[in-house]
């Protein structure tokens, strides 16, 4: 499979989904391309485009919650950070993603 073509397809398929959730692809193109590359690699290995920044477990139901775009399964957490965990997606009004930080879910609201 052509990796560049798959990345373009993932971008095409994800865009309308995250748009309805209030998110967009990170405007840092280098980051977006790198993260999509990792997802495409995971998909080639497993058949599923998992989030490249979250660990899988032996529990398939839990693993389904980190299939990209995983925003619906972590909505409160990501809305608080204004980005998804790996940073592939950011809130629509974000212009400088470098100012956003990863915050562990356990520390949200504290």
């Amino acid at each position: 499979m052509n990796r560049q073509a798959r990345k373009a397809a993932l971008r095409f398929l994800f865009t309308p989904i995250v748009d309805r959730l209030g998110y967009k692809f990170t405007p840092v193109e280098e980051d977006a391309d790198f993260l999509l590359e990792q997802e495409a690699e995971l998909e080639a290995q497993t058949g599923i485009p998992y989030c490249p920044c979250q660990a899988r477990t032996k529990d398939r139901a839990e693993n389904m919650k980190i299939v990209c775009p995983c925003i619906p399964f972590h909505r409160a957490h990501y809305d608080a950070m204004r980005r998804c965990w790996c940073g592939l997606f950011v809130h629509k009004d974000v212009t400088d993603p470098d100012k956003l930080k990863q915050i562990p879910e356990s520390k949200i609201g504290k």
Binding site: M1, N2, A5, R6, A9, F12, L13, E43, T46, G47, I48, R60
Partner: protein, 118 residues
């Protein structure tokens, strides 16, 4: 040589329709008003692709969800792997993987769609 295959109005944008033309089984796809012709059978398990889903230019096989670019015929992803505890063979076994689809030139003229099968 272009052969008349269908009327444009038979296939709405985002739609697909299967045809047999001169012995070739193919699927005509309408992506945003532009028509593309690809072979009908997925290279994995010969599923009929017009029964799948067309999302923009991405055609998803109805059987194991392999995806193809209808503009080039290129396989974008292979069959999805089997779920745990499934007794059937693993569709994503490399020995069973899919291949790109054959494509044919298409032109729309005067409300009709023509395909060059050469």
């Amino acid at each position: 040589m272009f052969i008349k295959a269908a009327e444009e109005k038979e296939i709405a944008p985002g739609g697909m329709k299967a045809f047999v033309l001169d012995g070739h089984e193919l699927v005509l796809c309408n992506y945003g008003g532009t028509f593309y012709a690809v072979e009908r059978a997925c290279g994995h398990a010969k599923a009929r692709l017009e029964r799948g889903a067309l999302t923009g230019w991405i055609l998803t096989c109805p059987l194991h969800y392999a995806q193809f670019d209808i503009r080039t015929g290129e396989a974008l992803s292979g069959p999805a792997p089997k779920a745990p505890d499934n007794k059937h063979p693993n569709p994503s076994d490399p020995a069973l993987s899919t291949k790109g689809l054959k494509t044919w030139p298409v032109k729309a003229e005067g409300g009709f769609i023509y395909i060059d099968l050469q």
